[in-house]
Every structure is written in structure tokens, then in C-alpha cells.
Amino acid sequence: MAVGKNILRKDGYEKLTGAARYVDDVTLEGMLYGKTIRSRIARGRIKSIAYDAAFDWSQIVIADYRDIPGKNYVALIEDDQPLLAENEIRHYAEPILLIAAANKDLLEAAAHHIHIEYEQWSPVLSIEDALACREIIYGTDNIFKRFLIGRGDVEEGFAQAERIIEGEYRVPHQEQLYIEPQGMIAIPGNEAMTLMGSMQCPYYIHKAIKQLFHLNDEQVVVIQMTTGGGFGGKEEYPSVIAAHAALLAHKAQRPVKLIYDRAEDIAATPKRHPGVIRHRTGVRRDGRMVASEIDLVFDGGAYVTLTPVVLSRGVIHALGPYACDNVRIQARAIATNTPPNGAFRGFGAPQVAFAYEMQMEKIAAELGMDSLELRRINMLREGDTTATGQTLIWSVGSEEVLNEAVERANYQAQRLAFSQSHSSIQTSTTNHVEAHKRRGIGLSFFLHGAGFTGSGEAKMKAQAGIEIMANGHPRVLSGSTEIGQGTRTIFSQIVAEELSLDFSAVEIEEPDTSRVPDSGPTVASRTCMVVGRVVQMAAREVKAKLLHFVAERFAAPEVELREGKFMVAEKALADFQEMACEYVNLFGELRCFAHYASPPEIEWNEETYSGDAYPVYSWGAEVAEVEVDMDTYEVTVVRLTTAQDIGRAIHPLLAAGQIEGGTLQAVGYGLLEELVWDQGRIINNRLTNYIIPTALDAPDMETIIVEKAYPHGPFGAKGVGELPINGAAPAIAAAVFQATGAFLSEIPITPERLQAAIEKVTTDEHR
């Protein structure tokens, strides 16, 4: 048995020895280094571009928008983002020119001899500015996309409500901060272009390059190299870098390597969408939600890019794991003159999760009720219906995760103990030492739809295949990429399990568009659940073909495949490898491809935005215990306990790694990570001043994996990658609320923000 075992990671050895080659570790003969010249204003127009006459430009390759053979846009959803600015500038660090040279010193020198003059226009830099429409920078109202979803009768619901509770929540940008900066190498050919580099989605790049260079499917080859993390940040943006490198390579007719340094990477590439989310909730005195009205606004930045899809996930997840019969959720994504925001693990869900969980805390506080009890009253269970009208028919681990997290963290006892210790401090106000550090414990409860939203998977029809190699071993053919999350390992386990082989016999083909089919992008927690399922189906087809072959060859009708051997009852006929080789020798090849098909039970209406938004949800609950220093207002997360229902853990150790890693990124989101802006420019674009969690910020973590099998996932597996990033920020904020009495409706909870909130509580109390 391979599934459910902690086998050794396929890519572990080469990563530990330094042998793994990432894009910046490779140098090609005759290769040039490329650089992007970017705007230094947030909004305006290019007046002139001057090149110092004294500089020797003969050694520099320069490309601008006029060098693009195709249309000047990056193919994505709206095709509104130019590859290189022509005249108008819509955000700081927008690409204008590309230069390349044989060495980096020359390249940097050349960059200093280019002078761009601008006419500056008043930029739109916040959600409020965009909605106020003082300046119109997109369409007629600065709105990229709207959604309205709902069910029941909200007015009637509010009429029945005994209390109406309102809250406004703010969430910031967040930088993915993959440790390997973005990078790509373009190699030009005769009517051809090869791209190799750091990426999540080879076929996105394939599509973008074909359009820009008028090339066909075969003429463009995209190869993923070992990739040092993505977290969504290498979903859409690598298409821009690939196209820039390709343009320089096309002009120079030499390979070009384009690697971002950290400062450029943070300044220019997409972030998690910031947002403002308003909740108005009608509840009965017993805590039952009877009406919910939610308004969410995400800042999309200067171009549409993936914003509509992020907003779609946001609106669908906005009510969280709760049932309410009367719901209306309005969602808008607006344009600002800031770099486009894009994919980041969670993709719209962590923003709304902070809001819906803090709203639960607020409701509980106002009703004088325990927030755990409030969650239990309103939580979705199997058979319940979501805001989009989806009835949950399978794999609903909501109660299990909540119970597990609460029990393992000893939540109720701890909460009581902390609350008693706080009241004792308040009664003896003179004891400063006791009051110096306050403890609190908080809870969050959340869900995450796995796979693409709505009809996305049905349209995508992800493909993957298995081929038998000359040595009789299977090789997986899939465009899904390994970015550290374990794609190669779990695919080999799934195939090994289906073909009853040892996992080490399974090889994974490099993601290379000339050799693997389009499995869809490596995003949306879909690699295991969706593509893993397709890989499983392809393996089953291989198995069926070989069983048939062996049955005929041995004239034995009842052949089975067990432990790598073809058996009739207890008699072994031949082993897998031998028969697979024989098949290939006889018929030339054995390759089977499968397509993803949505489960027949799933129905989605794109027009009304209602129905089964996702085939299934993963469920999570998290308990955070914090210590707040009442002198410095620093928050230390002491312990995190998280229980997550992921259907089935194909590889429990890797799954736990995903949960711990996602949780830690969420600790950063909740406590540390904040971009500082000045007129549309990020001024803390370094690892020295954009703070992410270190080993010292990583609390003790306990992870409990709950397995409520999903019948259409491989061996019951659902998505795991994104779910864990939803939970920590609200759990920490809830714990801080208990510890200090300060209700934080905005993250990150920096000492400054916490100080202001605590001082406000003190002022209010003394009024």
C-alpha cells in the first residue's frame, strides 16, 4: 500500500544536496541577462524616453512595445494588461522597456543611462477613492467586476431578527514571498520559442507566448524548472516575465535570462487583494442567524488579471461555514493605480474568513453568548444548504474538525481559566506584574471549496496520462507542477496504489508542454483532488489494458493484479514490469490519457451564480493561544491547534506540512505582514522590512487530520493546499480579544494597532 504512507519525498534528495537546478542556477552559452525598466509614477503618461548619447548602446539590446509581433497584452481574462506600456501608466513599477546585455554590470550601467519623463496624473490609491469616483480609471465607475448572490428574503429575515449586529472588517495586501524570486530563461529558435523557469502553470505561459509571437502549439515549448515556492505568486505573473524574456530573446536572437531581485519582485508582482468587508447580521436571542447581508470590496489594482475569479471565490465563501436562510451578498472589485493584485493561496477566502469569524465573535459578545456555542448553532452540517443554494451531500467533516480542535486544545477549560484570571486582575488593578502579560485563547471555524469555482473544472477538462516506459515502469504525464507541495510524491503514490507497484517504480515526467498534456493550472487546491483523480483514472485504464492482455496471453479469464504481479487465484503468472515491457514491444507503446469530468450530481448556474459552487468543501477549525505583552503590545502565539478535514491524506506527513505551512503564513497575515505605501509605491520591498514569520515566530503546532472521504477524489482525497491559510488570523484576533478586551477589526495586529484598540477600550470604559 502506497497511499496513506509517509514515503520519502521524490524531490527531497536533490534539494538537500544542492543538486536541484533552479532557473538562476543555469547559464546557457551566449546567454544575455535581461532587465525591466519600470515606471516611477503611479498614474500618468510617458512624455519622453531619452538614451544618454555618451553611453555605448551597441552592446545593449533594447525592446519596447513596438517589437511585439502580436498584440500588446498578456493573455489572461480581459486582455487589458499591456506587456509593455505604450503611453499611459497605470501603476508604479509598470514595465515600459526591456534591456539585455552580456553581463549584469553592463546591464545595470545601461539602466542608469535611460531617462523617462512623465506627465503625472492624480492616482486612485484606495478602495474609498475608487468608489468615490473622483477619478475614473476603469470603465465608468472604476468597478472591474460585481457579483450578487443570495437566497431567501433578507428583509423578511431582518424583520424576524431580535438583534441586528453590524461590523466592518479590513484586510491588507499580503506578499507571497516565495523564497526563490521570479525568473525565466527564453531561448529563441527559428519560428519557435522555448521558455524555462520558475512557474506554477506552464500552459498559461504557453498561451501568452503563442499570442504575442504568432506561434502555434508546437512552436512554443514551456518547461518548468525546479521551482522555489509559488503560493499563487507564480500562477499568472510568470507569463509576463516569460513574455519579456522572450521578446528580448526574439530581438537579440540569443537566450535571455530574466531574474528578479527581491526588491523588484516585491515592488512589481501581484499580492493578495486587500479588502473591506461589511457584515449586517440578524439573529434571534438564542443565537440563530436569520438574515445576513454582506458587502465586500476587493482592490484589484491597475489591471483585471485574475481579480474576477478571486472575487468569485470571495463572494461564495463570504458567509463561511454557516447556514442562514436569508442571505444577500454583494461583491465588487475595484480598480486602483497600484500593481495588479492576484493569486495568493486562499484566493479571496482568507479575506472573507477574517470577516465572518470576527463577526461571529462580535455577535457572541453582543448576545453575551459563548462564541463556540454560537458557531455550533449556526454551522453547516451534511444536508444543509449554503448561500449559493448548494446542499451538502457528502464529505462534510464540519462537526468533527470543530470537536477535535476544541478538545485537543482544551479550549473551553482554558478559556474559562483565562477569563477568570482577567477578572481577578481587574479587581486588583494595582498588581502591575500580573497585568503585564495577558493570555487569551480564540477559535476559528472555516471551509474551503476545493477545485475551480462553479463550472471551471467542467470547462477545463483537465487531462493527464500514464505511459509505460521501455523498462516497464509507468511514467505520469501531467502539466501539474511540483512547487514544494508534493505533486510528484503524491502522484507516484496514487499510481503505485492503482497498479500495486512500489512507489519508487513510478516516474514523473518533467512538466514540459511538448511532453505533457494540459492538466490545468497548479492552483485552487486542485492538484491532488482533481488532477490526482485524472491520474488515477489513467492508471486504471493502463491496468485494464494489461489485465486484458495478460488474460489473453495466458488464456486465463480471472486475472488480478496484486503486489506487482498478475495472478490467477494464488498463482502468479508474470510480474507487472515483464508484461508491461512485452505489451510495449508488441504494440509499440502503452499510453493512456484521461479527462476530468465533474461528478454528475454537481450543477452550477453561471447566470444566477447559484447551485453547487464547488464539488466538495474541506473543513477546518483552529484554536490559537496567545500571550499579549501589555507594555509593548506584542502578541506572541503560544500554541496553535488545528483540525482539518481533507477527505484522505495521501501522504500524511506532506499534508501536515501543508497545514503547518499555510497556518504559519496566516500567522504572518494576522500579526506581522504589512506593506507600506507612498503614492502607489511600496517602500518596504525588502526582506529586511517586510516581516515574515521566522522559526521564533512559529508556535508549537498540533495538527489533526480528519478524513471524511470524498467519493470522487482519489482514495477519498479533497483539497488541502489553501484551507489552512483561512484559520489563524481570526483565531489569533479572537484570542487577543479575550486577552485584552480589544476587538480588532483590522489586521495585521501590529503593536501600534493593538495599542490604539486597547486605549480605545480603556477610554470607552471610563466614559
Binding site: L16, T17, I179, G229, G230, R262, L654, E660, T694, L696
Partner: protein, 212 residues
């Protein structure tokens, strides 16, 4: 500059502007690669390099290697660009993340902020040296066993930082391990696995084996 002023400068710093300019070779027609110049500073001979390329010798993973680099080139860039030793990564380039960690003269250093010329004469150890024949070093094995890596980009630096830590403190407590890992950033969030790996490697160490 008057001779008098020149003289007083020389007395203050021990290096005259004129001798500096002369030593640094700022003149037309300098060869691309020059050796260091020797100047006299307060009666002592001091080697002066740059700004053009100069030949230096580094002892990397036990082998002496000669490279020609400008004196401003960092140890990280010298290894990555001149010698194709690419295990250590360039990530923040500001001595923050530790992805470039190497062990130089027995100490873990951020090689992005050490000049290559400064590392002359000291043994330089990188992740490439840890394998013992075909076998992983016990610390590397501990990383594999505890899944102390995901994307792998911080890993070579992290492994070297852990090695330097264990070399200094072969039997650390879990608290010491947590503190000892504070200099390396991992965004995948593998700190739990790394912690476990270091403790495992330490336990094996206690068993009396010599892991170099």
C-alpha cells in the same frame, strides 16, 4: 591637492590619495586582470585590490580554486557565477534570509554579505560537500526523514546553518534549537520539520558517531 595637504592626509590615514589611486590602477590601459598591489601603511605592507578583476584563491569544500573577480564581488556571487557552485541561493541579498549560508572558517556566514577576497585562506564549506560518497550526511537524512524541506530554495542554507549550529552545540535542547534556527527564513513553513531534523541529528550525534 597641495603637497602639504597630501602629507597631512597621509599622516592621518596612513594612505595617501595619490598612492591609493596609483595602487588601485585607475589609469588608461589597465589589464583586465591584475594582481593585488602592495602599499606601505605605517610601515606595514598592505595588499590593495581593485577595482578591476584580481586573482584570488579560495579553499572550497577542501579544494583550492582560483577565480578572477572584482574585489566588490561577494563570496556568494563568486561561487555561483564563477565556479558554478549553485547550492547556496541568492534570495534577499541583504543578510536577512540565510538562503546563502555557508560555513567559513568554522562559522556560519551569510555569503551574500561576505566579499570573496575576505574569504581567502579560510576553509569554505557549502551544502555540496556534505554527502559522504553516495550517502546523505546524517543531518541531510534527518531533513528527509522529517520533511524539513518543501520548495527547497532555503534548504541548502538552512542545512548549513543547522550544521554550524550542531558543530558548536552537539546536544542542544529544543529551546536552543528554536533559537538557533532564527537566522534562516522559510516561507513554506517547514520550521517544525527542521526543528525535528536538528533534534534527530543531535540524538544521533549523542550516539557517539562522528558526522564530521
Amino acid at each position: 591637492m597641495s603637497d602639504e595637504k597630501n602629507k597631512s592626509d597621509q599622516q592621518k590615514s596612513g594612505v595617501s590619495r595619490r598612492s591609493f589611486l596609483k595602487a588601485s590602477g585607475i589609469s588608461l590601459g589597465v589589464p583586465l586582470v591584475v594582481g593585488h598591489r602592495v602599499i606601505n601603511v605605517n610601515g606595514q605592507e598592505v595588499k590593495l585590490y581593485g577595482p578591476t578583476k584580481t586573482s584570488i584563491t579560495l579553499t572550497i569544500n577542501g579544494a583550492k580554486q582560483t577565480v578572477e573577480v572584482e574585489p566588490r564581488v561577494t563570496l556568494l556571487e563568486a561561487l555561483r557565477h564563477e565556479l558554478d557552485i549553485t547550492g547556496a541561493k541568492r534570495v534577499c541579498d541583504r543578510a536577512t534570509c540565510g538562503a546563502c549560508t555557508m560555513i567559513v572558517g568554522g562559522k556560519a556566514v551569510y555569503s551574500c554579505t561576505v566579499l570573496a577576497i575576505e574569504a581567502q585562506g579560510k576553509p569554505i564549506t557549502t551544502v555540496e560537500s556534505l554527502m559522504q560518497g553516495e550517502k546523505l550526511h546524517p543531518l541531510q537524512q534527518a531533513f528527509v526523514d522529517n520533511d524539513g524541506q518543501q520548495c527547497g530554495y532555503c534548504t541548502p542554507g538552512f542545512v548549513m546553518a543547522c550544521k554550524a549550529f550542531l558543530d558548536k552545540n552537539p546536544s542542544p535542547t529544543p529551546e536552543e534549537v528554536q533559537k538557533g534556527l532564527g537566522g534562516n527564513l522559510c516561507r513554506c513553513g517547514t520550521y517544525m520539520g527542521v526543528r525535528a531534523a536538528v533534534l534527530q541529528a543531535a540524538t544521533m550525534h549523542k550516539g557517539g558517531k562522528n558526522h564530521g
